[in-house]
Amino acid sequence: MGEREPVPISGMHAVSALGRGADAQLAGVLCGAPAFRPVRRFDTTGRRVTVAATLPDVGTLSDELADAIDAACRAAGLHPADRADSALLLATHGGPISQPGPFRADRPVDPVDGSTGGTDGSTDRRAQAPGGPQVPALAGHLARRCGLGGPTRIYTSACVSASTAVADAAAMIRRGDRERVVVAAGYLVEPDQFALFDAGRALAADGAVRPFSAGRKGLLLGDGVAAVVLESAEAARRRGAEPVATLHGWGRAGDAYHPCQPDPAGRGLARAVGAALGRAGLPAAAVGYVNANATGTGYSDASEAAALRLALGDLADRVPVSSTKSLHGHALEASGLLELVVTVLALRHGKLPVNAGWLGPDEACPLDVVIDAPRPVGSPYALSLNAAFGGANTALLVGAP
């Protein structure tokens, strides 16, 4: 494959509280109505915050991931032989989290008789029972179930897990390791991570995510399960596949600053953006939209604004920016893939999603934030940014096909 040839994305699928499938994600982010509501899936008594963006009807994480992989492979038009050649890179939480599900109308479904119950002690037991194979066995299970015969790898890099997997998938394809890689990622809101984020006072006590806005209070969690198929341009051409988008560039860089806080100067994220532009062979002026990492957290959003200023210079005043986490919530390990899918959908449709929750400008975030209504796409290239604990940063530069 050519040194700078873009990597086609030939199929994708996503599930979030905005709904199931690509159309639901697009309609949800263009509608601009946040999907946060009271958590009913598990007991939130004693928590400071009791809302999240959850789907009322959802399977186990394992089942949802398998469905997403199947849907993305179907969308890509992959035959069984194509699948058999594909690697699987999976992004999910690395520990023995309490995987919920299945749920119907927010209530745990009895795995035997299909009945539902409340969130009292008797049903908590069911809700916290393992919902399928756990890491690391989960990757092999999904590969077998979905007919993916290539190698597997599991990324547990917190909120850059999925975006790192996408970058690595593209690097593997460009290096010639594989013709095709399926990247899948999943997080479903569950009681342990919810309690941890609540204990860390990371959740927005006012029940809204307000990225880059004055008065922002923090993040809110959200369900997110997604899968994308990346393949070499040659393999896509050979199959007669029509890409839904192309990955032009990617970058990963560390802050070397703090275990949990981002570098206030945004140097690591800026280097990730620079690497993505460099691999794409594109100038900063080509970027027509940034789907920001912005979680609605005070210092973190300001750091990202500084990173954009560092990476894009004065163009940071003019590039439309929004964070779709304000609509679908923070899907943690899956956030990078859900947001990449949303970014691709917006580019293809020609409208940029709003940054919900806006109360007014914050002088620490001097950016052109998309508020009030979706804006027309002005350039076919967009950045999807992610950052995580550990000072980990990624940038994915995607373009309409």
């Binding site: 007991d43 990324y155 547990t156 890099s157 941890l196 560390g254 980990a392």
Partner: protein, 172 residues
């Protein structure tokens, strides 16, 4: 995954424990589990063998690739038990709830400005992290990569750690 065209060089290697070691020193800001002190101790030992003093030389972008099958299992089990009993979790558990945190501690302490990647190995752990490091070096986001592998008992309890420093990447 298959290896790149150039095999990275082994620059340094360390274990914890090595003969004469006891428990690794406590790590301020991290509680309850040996996971984080093990990572910090073995990383310090490996990087000290290569560079002597902190930080790494300017211009060396070193990645951190941390592998553990089950993550910080002792802390995760404490959180699960506390939540199931309707209790409150201490805020430090939030800050150490992902392996990135201690990887970021090492990166900040030594000035490692390359990518931070955590994996749950699906095959041979050393082969998995080496393949990831080779990819990062080949792709050009890192010049060197510090690999840390946590060894765990069957119940997930961390028992030791290995650190390997690899170098020899190419530019994008």
């Amino acid at each position: 995954m298959s290896a790149g065209s150039a095999t990275p060089r082994l620059l340094a290697e360390a274990r914890w424990p090595e003969p004469g070691d006891g428990d690794p020193p406590p790590l301020p800001g991290f509680v309850h589990s040996p996971f984080h002190p093990l990572v910090a101790a073995v990383a310090d030992r490996c990087l000290t063998r290569r560079y002597g003093e902190r930080p790494v030389p300017p211009g060396v972008r070193c990645a951190v690739v941390l592998a553990s099958a089950a993550g910080d299992r002792p802390s995760a089990e404490h959180v699960r038990a506390t939540v199931a009993a309707g209790g409150r979790i201490g805020p430090l558990f939030f800050f150490q709830s992902v392996p990135n945190s201690v990887a970021g501690h090492v990166a900040a302490r030594w000035g490692l400005a390359g990518p931070v990647v955590c994996l749950s190995p699906t095959g041979d752990p050393r082969a998995d992290v080496t393949a990831e490091a080779e990819l990062l070096l080949h792709d050009g986001d890192a010049d060197e990569a510090l690999l840390v592998l946590i060894e765990q008992a069957s119940d997930g309890a961390p028992t030791g750690a290995v650190a390997v420093l690899l170098g020899g990447g190419t530019s994008p």
